[in-house]
Amino acid sequence: MNKIIIASALLALVATSGTALAGGASPEAVEKVVASSWKDPNTKNPEGAKPDWASRLVQDNLQKACSQTRNQPTKDLAEEIVADAKASVKFPEDGKLLGDWKNGEKIAQDGRGQRYNDKVGEPSGGNCYACHQIDKKELAYGTIGPSLAEYGKLRDFKDDAVKATYEKIYNSHSTIACSNMPRFGAQGILTIEQIKDVTALLMDKESPVNK
């Protein structure tokens, strides 16, 4: 627990210490431009969105730290980010991490959710195929992230790998500090049930990903 508290403190320190990189703009100057360019976000965008629109313009400590270091944190900072991320993961109450892979595939295909043209209150997709190859039958996959084809098979379907996969989806920074991947659980993009389903898509022996 102590380590977590220290971790958060360092993260906060880095995040408030100004731009760490060569970029010439002060955080205050950027904030001023953001405020004038996104006026009254909560009244100009669909009501009831979560998180609300105004809060999306304010970076949290992780976003600040990764922005300032351009996703290349120092070793110490990276360790703290990973520790923080691991501590953020909430597991299902019944301890079962594998859901329904068929539903997981639907979530992986679905790129909707949380844009101002999406229906407020509808569940979000994971949009996994935007960046990853997963089921090899899907040809329209992106390459920003690594291929996940045969993901479970390559990991011998081990329990440890199931847990690591759930954690990765819940908070991607639990394995790589300043990962490009969204924090699907920690940021409330996907529910715990949805994360279980996507975990099953990758780790279930019956999933076409592993065929």
Binding site: G23, V34, S37, N45
Partner: protein, 283 residues
């Protein structure tokens, strides 16, 4: 999804069908992505042989007519608008924008400057024009889309020359660079998330690396407004920035805002030396 009806999509799905039929699924995705790109490349070649076949030229013509139309409380045209090269000089103006304008005391890109000229030269109420700046599916091109196309096309063939000598231009560049790397919103996306490396794709869409100067930035940036075959319509640079922020799960960004201008300043610097080609053909 509009993509379904597009030229590139038809080509992509034909390629996909062929690859699936041949049982080449493993290699097929690369092939499909490349074929979609090649399809647009072919289309571009056909247009090079007959430049007047570019459907975007209709927007340039409509823009010219509107540019020369007397309107507003002052009942004058936009023909005396100063885009940085002197009143009424359009040639090469876009290749050197955004730039600082002393009369407005602001750094402005083409679209922002057009709005300023409408308000200050014509005495036009621009509220509705700004509101409808981006045409929707199936709608005619907007006033902004045709005017930006006309103005920008007058720089065709000229190299991008970033303007960074005025302190406000430099400040804008710095802010644009910072915004490019700013991760925010529920998905933690920044521009860099998708445009920070070379040779990557989202689904089948190839992504230009805009984090460094060079050919990819030149081809991506100096080519707006563009005619998009996925929507059969003209889209502007302001729209490109705005739509990226939508996908990033951010709230709607203001049209002609300082943030968008700053990003365009940053991108034009990355595209330095690139040849302006408007309206380019894009997916």
């Amino acid at each position: 999804m509009a993509f379904r009806h597009s030229f590139a999509a038809r080509l992509a799905s034909a390629a996909m069908g062929l690859c699936a039929a041949l049982g080449l699924a493993g290699l097929a995705s690369e092939a499909v992505a490349q074929d979609a790109t090649k399809g647009i490349e072919e289309y571009r070649k056909m247009m090079a042989a007959d430049p007047f076949s570019n459907p975007g030229l209709l927007a340039v013509d409509a823009g010219e007519a509107l540019w020369k139309t007397a309107r507003g409380t002052k009942n004058v045209s936009l023909e005396t608008c100063d885009l940085g090269k002197g009143p009424g000089v359009l040639k090469g103006a876009m290749a050197e924008m955004p730039r600082y304008f002393a009369d407005a005391d602001k750094v402005m890109d083409v679209e922002r400057r057009i709005i300023w000229c409408m308000e200050n030269i014509q005495g036009l109420d621009t509220k509705d024009i700004v509101k409808k700046a981006f045409s929707g599916a199936g709608q005619d091109n907007s006033e902004m889309e045709v005017l930006a196309s006309y103005v920008s096309a007058q720089s065709n063939g000229m190299p991008v020359v970033p303007q960074l000598s005025h302190p406000k231009e430099k400040e804008s560049y710095d802010i644009g660079e910072a915004l490019f790397y700013t991760r925010a919103g529920p998905h933690d996306f920044s521009c860099q998330t998708c445009h920070g490396s070379s040779g990557t794709r989202i689904r089948l869409q190839e992504l230009p690396d805009l984090s460094k100067p060079g050919k990819e930035a030149q081809a991506a940036v100096a080519t707006w407004p563009a005619y998009r075959v996925s929507t059969n319509s003209i889209k502007t640079m302001q729209h490109r920035m705005s739509d990226c922020y939508r996908q990033m799960r951010m709230p709607k960004v203001g049209f002609g805002s300082d943030a968008v201008t700053a990003l365009v300043v940053y991108l034009m610097k990355q595209a330095e030396g690139g040849e302006v080609n408007v309206p380019a053909l894009k997916r």
